[in-house]
Symmetry: C2
């Protein structure tokens, strides 16, 4: 195995050594930065390829590890569409996903202020909602 350095000093400019309780290694930084730079909901493999531009030596396994760590610490969301590979996004504001069937692009859509999803549903009263996942498929209006 080739000897590679893993960052040495903690803060090399961009991030503090710890973000959201997660120690920021060089690899985690690279993965996180990829997700902050382009918010187009890349797959783990997409992230891997992009992270390699920053860090030639990073491995796919590490990308998976880093993504898992980032998700667990709430810095990143993991999004699943049907049986497709998971996608990741760093948009932490509450939002739902709109899958444009024409372009394949995934847009983040926010709730209108004050909107409460629970009001629309026949949930037994007293139900505790911990997580909501909403995906919409369709087509955006023609031109723009």
């Amino acid at each position: 195995m080739v000897s590679r350095d893993q960052g040495g000093e903690h803060t090399d400019g961009e991030f503090p050594a710890v973000v959201g309780g997660l120690r920021m290694t060089k690899q985690r930084r690279a993965v996180y930065q990829v997700l902050l730079d382009d918010r187009d909901h890349p797959t783990a493999n997409d992230v891997f390829r992009r992270a390699q531009d920053r860090m030639l030596s990073i491995s796919l396994a590490t990308v998976y590890n880093c993504l898992e760590a980032l998700v667990e610490h709430g810095l990143v969301n993991q999004v699943n569409f049907d049986r497709e590979p998971s996608r990741f996004c760093s948009n932490l504001k509450e939002h739902v996903h709109f899958h444009d069937e024409k372009t394949g692009v995934i847009h983040d859509i926010t709730f209108k202020p004050g909107a409460k999803l629970e009001d629309l549903l026949e949930l037994p009263k007293g139900t505790e909602v911990t997580e909501v996942e909403l995906t919409i498929r369709g087509m955006l209006p023609k031109q723009k």
Copy 2:
């Protein structure tokens, strides 16, 4: 390969020969009946095991084929939770899924009459919605 019969006559009681535009072979009938009997959102493998009770010779590949055909013809819905195996349900009424984190049971929840999801979201006007998929995780109230 052992010779097995595939149903011979068309209507053997339960279903017409064609349902929703889909020719009902013995295997498709068995798979469909499994989903009509127990609406607990079984996986393909669950369906396979249950279908075997009706038809010893059915294969897993066929169960996948049948499920695909049933889904394509709109007789059955395919439901995906995160990265878990797909689940299938024959409840065609519009509903969302509530995943009880304590019991693992998946409940079908309907919208309140007149509820319009689009009203809650910041969708560009003119957006055409073709499909909505909503999953909620949480806990139902205590006793009950």
